[in-house]
């Protein structure tokens, strides 16, 4: 397995498409962080709230915040590395050779997945470090221990998130013979989960929990609850909700603002103090589990399909 992992790693880092995508993401990240930094610096004049450093990642600059950006384009990184994992070997007729070597068949999928996760980790980590350095230079605020902890968790969640897409792409590469089909399928699902799940969730909520009387708070709440719950089916929603809670200590509820009652809102305003790190983690824990579970399901599925696939057709 390590042998395969090693070769795939070399392939990833040497491949031009990875380089292009990484440069693109890095560039956008730099620009958006820089804009956020100038924004923060202006807003900061005089005031000194705590945990300024995290604002770098969550403040929308001119277009979007870094976190939103990763939520949107991180999947592309995973898809690009995984969509041709198995069927490229099939097309180049190397898969038959590979399975007739004295290795277990699962080592092929495992090695490829592992190499992908390692590449993602290296890419994201180096990007975070670069951005942190940039933030230090432009804003001049040194992050505290807690902020570093939050960033580390954010990094972990991001890796898990991109790994989910990697697992999905590998699944498609096992299922589909043609490179183009598997790439297209993965990209289609990505676009769907990024842009349409929200609409669909609203539609479903309106259909199943209709608001007949706009004055009836219970109906509104039921409608919103349903929409929120169903939009969680999208990993992009899961991810952005989880990370925004982690990176924004002032946020203490995952629920929609409509759902917070007047008393709750009052208490929120009364205690304008950040949530401690462990409490933030507690809030997002279910999200993390769900994300990890989805990744494992994807990976497990491709594993099972690949193990059972008739070599004949390989």
């Amino acid at each position: 397995m390590w042998t395969i992992c090693r070769k795939e790693l070399a392939d990833h880092f040497g491949s031009i498409r990875f380089l292009i995508l990484f440069c693109l993401i890095l560039m956008v990240a730099l620009v958006s962080t820089y804009m956020a930094a100038t924004h923060v610096r202006e807003a900061l004049d005089g005031a000194k709230p705590s945990q300024v450093f995290l604002l770098l990642f969550t403040t929308p600059g001119k277009f979007f915040s870094l976190v939103q950006f990763i939520a949107l384009f991180g999947p592309l990184l995973g898809i690009i590395m995984g969509f041709d994992a198995i069927n490229r070997e099939r097309q180049h007729r190397t898969l038959g050779k590979l399975v007739s070597q004295p290795i277990y068949r699962d080592a092929i999928v495992n090695g490829k997945f592992l190499a992908g996760v390692l590449t993602i980790s290296v890419a994201l980590l180096s990007m975070m470090l670069l951005l942190t350095g940039l933030g230090l230079m432009t804003v001049g605020v040194v992050p505290g221990i807690e902020e570093i902890g939050r960033l580390a968790i954010y990094l972990l969640v991001s890796i898990a998130y991109v790994s989910f897409w990697l697992g999905l792409a590998i699944l498609f590469s096992v299922l589909f013979r043609s490179l183009a089909t598997s790439a297209l399928a993965a990209v289609a699902l990505w676009i769907f989960s990024a842009f349409f799940v929200g609409f669909l969730a609203d539609l479903a909520a309106d259909a199943l929990r209709p608001i007949r009387n706009p004055r009836d708070p219970e109906e509104i709440v039921a409608n919103r609850r349903f929409a929120d719950a169903s939009s969680l089916a999208s990993p992009a929603v899961l991810y952005s909700q989880a990370t925004s809670t982690i990176l924004d200590p002032y946020r203490r509820t995952r629920s929609n603002l409509v759902l917070t009652g007047p008393m709750e809102r009052l208490s929120l305003e009364r205690f304008e103090r950040p949530l401690p790190l462990d409490q933030s983690i507690l809030v997002v824990w279910p999200y993390l589990t769900l994300l990890a579970a989805m990744t494992l399901v994807c990976f497990g599925l491709s594993y099972v399909v690949f193990m059972r696939q008739e070599i004949r057709s390989v």
């Binding site: 042998t3 395969i4 090693r6 070769k7 180049h92 007729r93 190397t94 038959g96 050779k97 590979l98 399975v99 007739s100 070597q101 004295p102 290795i103 277990y104 008739e310 070599i311 004949r312």
Partner: protein
Amino acid sequence: MAIIQTDQLTRRYGRQTAVDGLSLEIGEREIFGFLGPNGAGKTTTILMLLGLTEPTAGRARVLGYDPARDPLQIKRQVGYLPENVGFYDDLTGLENLRYMGRLNRLPEAQAPALIEEALSTVGLEGEGNKLVGAYSRGMRQRLGIAELLVKNPKLLILDEPTLGLDPDGTNRMLELIVSLRRERGMTVMLSSHQLEQVQRICTRVGIMIKGKLAALGSLEELSKGGSGDKAGPNLEEIYMRYFKEA
């Protein structure tokens, strides 16, 4: 000791029977020609021998191991060259060999020497640093053999090794196969359509038609009972005879 032994080996895909009750024995240092039209079940048989496909019924033994239970042991000692083998075109020949060596757990210290030796055995010395994408078809086939040689196998299973080679490439390939048996004592199982070549190098042939073994034996044995031609055994004649009978 028989290198390959199968007993009523059968494989069905749905209602179709790809291999039907195949019983076969291949001894040490044989060059066994495995003949048959396309779709006769030759490749399926090979895949079952390597444990890449499970037989529906019957059993097989390769080098004393059961492929369904001990595929790794078999793959360690058997070199299999699939039909139209592929390579990582963006790597050099040497890198391809190195990767295969690692997958076979060659000790890192000995690997370079083994790889060098394999390259010179197949006549590719000095070509190792070229990208495989730039190799000619004949060179690719020989590189495929080199990949098998790095693990020093006891048995070579070659699926159509001469397909698409020019006459010179074909000759070199056949000579290589013969020399591997002569100098390294390897057993070779060779599936092919090219009867004239099989006739030149094989010690024994088996003809498979529609999943069944229609004939088995040396050329002399098989030509008996035929038209009794004066020109000695002719595989093409034998093959066509069995083909028409089936």
